[in-house]
């Protein structure tokens, strides 16, 4: 069985230098912190931009995340991967930011932010965005962390600080909902499903 690999844009390649950088950050090395920031900026930005309403908030949350990394570097004991630790911080910050806004929606569906949003490349793109937005925050996070960030279910459990079975259950419900919302996946009538979104 062959499968097409979409890659893991969020987790990226494991860097042997990450641990060394974090160790230096623990000793308040600003240069090491700058390197770590650059290393994670694109990954965190991509993830936060997908789960938060607009670019400004995503940038703000990204800075908040990295500030926690600076402050709490000494608390990291290496029980989890560094990426899981940093994305765990991002996960919680994103959830808090989304709750503060009183909504949890895709950046791509906000007309107010149309100038900062990437244009939908196709009708299916819009449908997928709408479907993702229709998920609950918890379910949406598991889907994004799996399909966009490429984390394993164990890593997601660490990030979300929940049991592994909870991750699987959330994914199960998210899949069922997406299956219903995305007709292209199972070949059923697209127009009928779109009306129900």
């Amino acid at each position: 069985m062959t499968r097409k690999k979409a890659g893991n844009p969020a987790t990226g390649p494991a860097s042997a230098d990450e641990q060394a950088l974090l160790d230096a950050v623990k000793h308040r090395d600003r240069r090491a912190f700058t390197q770590l920031y650059h290393l994670y900026h694109a990954r965190l930005h991509g993830y936060l931009r997908r789960v938060l309403a607009n670019a400004a908030i995503a940038e703000e949350v990204l800075d908040d995340v990295m500030l926690v990394v600076w402050k709490d570097a000494r608390k990291f004991r290496g029980d989890a991967a560094i990426s899981s630790w940093i994305f765990g911080i991002a996960y919680r910050k994103a959830m808090t930011a989304a709750r503060k806004e009183g909504r949890y929606q895709s950046l791509l569906d906000r007309s107010a932010d149309a100038d900062t949003m990437p244009a939908a490349s196709s009708q299916d793109d819009g449908l997928i965005r709408a479907a993702l937005q229709a998920l609950s925050p918890d379910h949406r996070q598991v889907v994004e962390l799996t399909y966009y960030c490429g984390f394993s279910y164990r890593e997601i459990a660490e990030i979300a600080e929940c049991p592994v079975n909870t991750v699987k259950t959330r994914m199960f419900h998210a899949r069922r909902r997406l299956k219903f919302l995305l007709p292209a996946l199972d070949g059923t009538d697209k127009e009928n499903k779109r009306e129900q979104l």
Partner: protein
């Protein structure tokens, strides 16, 4: 989990999303793959998940990632470190002051001595000068009584009041209405307390006390 094990349909189905994103451990991946080869439902779901994965992973990829800008976060870190530095400075100064128990004890003793010294040598407020009516002034030998008459009485009235009591005014009345009376020598055997009782029985006398002359 060894490769000889068989995974249940439910377990394999749960793990399909992570088979698709290639994050399963080798043994887990082999088990799920093995199951999917023989399970029509899982195989079909796997195809759907691969399409979903590709769609979700690439949706919004056109969004440009801005260049990292560390100015804001650097400013926040600077502020945070300055605050930490102030805190550390304060703590180190406190440690310098009370570095060791011996030094702390010495500092406390010194402070105590300063307080005691200040209390000892602090200029005392001058005591107010006052005398009681029982304190004798320069009086010749004899028995004396100090009285305060009703201010409404004139001098003839209180002179008349004393006439029948063998009392002579030797001083006063002062500004405060105090007069010193001498018990006549002819009445030397008279007890001053009896005289005072008689005086106080008159409404014109407000107050009367014997003058105590201490024996030299």
């Amino acid at each position: 989990m060894s490769s000889s094990e068989v995974i249940s349909h439910e377990d394999a189905r749960e793990l399909l999303p992570w088979l698709v994103n290639e994050s399963l451990a080798d043994e887990e991946r082999d088990l799920v793959n093995q199951h999917a080869r023989n399970c029509v439902i899982c195989r079909r779901e796997l195809e759907e998940l691969e399409r979903l994965h590709e769609s979700i992973a690439t949706v919004g990829d056109a969004s440009p990632v801005p260049a990292p800008d560390l100015r804001r976060i650097n400013a926040r870190i600077d502020a945070m470190m300055a605050k930490e530095h102030r805190g550390r400075l304060l703590i180190s100064r406190l440690r310098e002051i009370v570095g060791s128990p011996l030094r702390l004890a010495f500092a406390m003793q010194t402070a105590l001595l300063v307080v005691l010294g200040a209390a000892l040598f602090w200029p005392q407020a001058e005591q107010a000068e006052f005398t009681t009516l029982t304190v004798p002034e320069q009086l010749p030998d004899g028995q004396y009584i100090r009285v305060v008459f009703d201010p409404n009485l004139d001098s003839s009235e209180w002179s008349g009041l004393l006439d029948g009591m063998s009392l002579t005014i030797v001083d006063g009345p002062s500004d405060r209405g105090v007069a010193t009376l001498r018990i006549a020598a002819s009445a030397s055997g008279t007890n001053p307390d009896t005289v005072i009782t008689n005086l106080l029985s008159n409404p014109g006398v407000l107050f009367a006390v014997p003058v105590r002359i201490e024996q030299q």
